[in-house]
Amino acid sequence: MNRRKLLAYGAAVAAAAPLAACGSNDDDSSSSGPVELTISVWSMDSTPEFKALFDAFQKANPDITIKPVDILAADYPTKVTTMLAGGDSTDVITMKNVIDYARYAGRGQLKDLTSAATSSTFSSANGLDAFKQDGGKYFALPYRQDFWVLYYNKKLFDAAGKTYPTNLTWDQYVDLAKSLTAGAGQNKVYGTYHHTWRSIVQAIAAAQTGGNQLGPDYSFFTDQYKTALALQDGGATLDFGTAKTQKTGYASMFETKKTTMLPMGTWFIAKILADKKAGTTDVDWAIAPLPQRPGGTGVTTFGSPTAFAVNKNAKHSAAAQKFVEFACGPEGAKAIAAIGVVPALLTEDIRTSYFALAGMPTDETSKKAFNPDKINLEMPVSDKTSKIDTILNEEHDLIMTKAKSIDGGIAEITSRVKNEAS
């Protein structure tokens, strides 16, 4: 082979390689015969809902086998972004959060599921609104919808001689947390633990005051920041800076009884149930509604849905949609409720069977906490969401570590959102 030929050959190979990667989109719209369906998931070992859904689906559809594409949870959004950009043909893409969903849908990377979403089966699903795009179109269906409640350790309440929380206001909660704090040094038991996420202040404030986290006015954060800082100053929760630098886990704080209360999402229920079953903790727990701002009516909390979407480049588009409708429908809801995960389709039936699970608390307050009056979306979706999210995260750090005052931080948020995300 002479040099010119070699070069020409090399160039041809180089040019063909990316084409080969993008091609082969043999859609089997008839979906007959055995199909291998690929589904992107995160950390499958520690996220049992995926296995529950896959097993249930395969039992109902023996001709379809599921091949999970397992991705490390922390890398999931970036990995999926890269996959989709590269024209990957994974059939079902799990939407870990709404912000990324909005981006994929906006770029036209997902299949239109509007007709399924507006059908009678799915229109009552919690969190469906979060997936509504311009023109009333839907590109994903939620299968689980977590929301925030207040976890508490019954034994530690008994030991302190306090009655279990029912409907607290934030001020009552702060006082209670302070009075429940005991011990010092390594043996200190905190009254409550506020994780480092900004949502614990900002999303709660937005949900319970009606404020908008996309701006332009952020003064509604003030009261909730006062609450959070009062807890921290009173030593009733682990210091924010320490929690952040030590990457403290909220699960271990609660399960090793280092905190008496813990505001957290309902996804934590499945983990407690699993850990108690495995014998790694014996915490005696129950849940109460999230504390409320005074003046509101009923229980308002916030949450974020998780959804399945069909890749526009899917190899088996029809089978993929079949899976999405199954997983997000009543059968899927039943399958994940059986392992303690909160389905988006939360009917009375499923709620009852959920509380019948071994290890679930059975008191009335817990049941009431599980049926809040209103679940607001954790963060509104728009094309500015991701930028504003970064700003809110950075300024949250500064307020919580007291590098900035509450007013100073809010003023900074207001001006940064105006300048950087408009």
Partner: protein
């Protein structure tokens, strides 16, 4: 490849074309030796770099067709506070990291450039941090810097410092904490370079200086330092480039926080590109970072050449 080697038969008639073809033959053979490495470089580095250069004038979300927007990405950078903060922080990091690492590495090299028992062990010990995983280094130093339970602040309390810094939890101390960690990690590597440089200085120079009555400091100032100039130059270039590229240490240790106190340029590029999906804007920031490093390196070259000529 065999064809290439026999492409020009040695029996060519006239002599000028023959010389020409032999030269070409040698060139081609030379190229063919570099080719495997160059191909890898071209596909994995050169093409993406050129693509990034072009992309910096475009708006691209990685999926839909890129759109030519001229200098808009650069105009946007002028008004982007986060990028400005990142630039400032990167400069701060470099200004701390480069001189401190040079001083620490040179000090260690001088200390370990003598015949004492177990010098090999101490040299290995100083080099050890460099071969440790950056993530492990960052996590462990984060624990050492813990404001409440960390050994560093406990020690400071012990020696009577009441107002010990909050290190990675404080906006003003987070960057010094990162710099200390990076100096500790890098000094061993540059110590090796300095050691090699020290051993290349002929002992006659020291002897001559001694004969002329130069004391220790004078010998260091007038023999060691000039003798080390090529090595120092190399170390400065490497360190500057490395400082402007810092990423992993910051991501694991502080993730740019608290707030934006340790946000650096490469992290801002990652956020804009990979996280936000604005590859055009991210490429534009990369281009600015590249030009910045280029200008600094050229300045160093120019400076070094001038001093060499003196």
């Amino acid at each position: 490849m065999a064809d290439v080697l026999t492409a020009a038969p040695p029996t060519a008639a006239s002599s000028p074309p023959r010389r020409f073809s032999r030269r070409w033959r040698n060139t081609l053979i030379g190229w063919s030796f570099i080719l495997p490495n160059f191909l890898g470089f071209a596909v994995l580095t050169l093409v993406p770099v050129i693509a990034a250069f072009v992309l910096s004038f475009m708006d691209w979300d990685s999926y839909n067709a890129p759109e030519w927007i001229g200098l808009k990405n650069f105009q946007r950078m002028l008004h982007d506070e986060s990028t400005k903060v990142a630039l400032k922080n990167t400069a701060y990091y470099a200004l701390g990291h480069v001189p401190l690492t040079v001083l620490a590495a040179l000090g260690l090299a001088l200390l370990l450039n003598r015949k004492i028992a177990g010098v090999g062990f101490f040299r290995a010990a100083a080099f050890f941090p460099y071969i440790t995983s950056m993530v492990a280094v960052a996590v462990v130093w984060n624990m050492l810097f813990n404001p409440e339970f960390g050994p560093i602040n406990q020690f400071l309390h012990f020696i009577g410092v009441d107002n010990a810094p909050g290190w990675t939890t404080s906006t003003s101390w987070a960057m010094p904490a990162v710099i200390v960690t990076s100096v500790w990690r890098d000094m061993g590597y540059y110590m090796i370079l300095f050691l090699a440089g020290l051993q290349a200085i002929p002992t006659e120079h020291y002897e001559a200086a001694k004969m002329d009555g130069a004391n220790n400091w004078q010998r260091f100032r007038h023999v060691t330092l000039p003798g080390l100039r090529p090595v120092t130059f190399l170390v400065l270039i490497l360190l500057t480039v490395q400082s402007f590229k810092v990423f992993d240490l910051i991501v694991v240790m502080t993730d740019g926080g608290p707030g934006r106190a340790t946000l650096v340029l490469s992290q801002q590029i990652y956020r804009q590109g990979i996280v936000e999906g604005e590859f055009g804007y991210a490429s534009a920031i990369s281009l600015v970072l590249f030009l910045l490093v280029l200008v600094l390196t050229l300045t160093q070259f120019w400076f070094n050449n001038r001093r060499e000529r003196k």
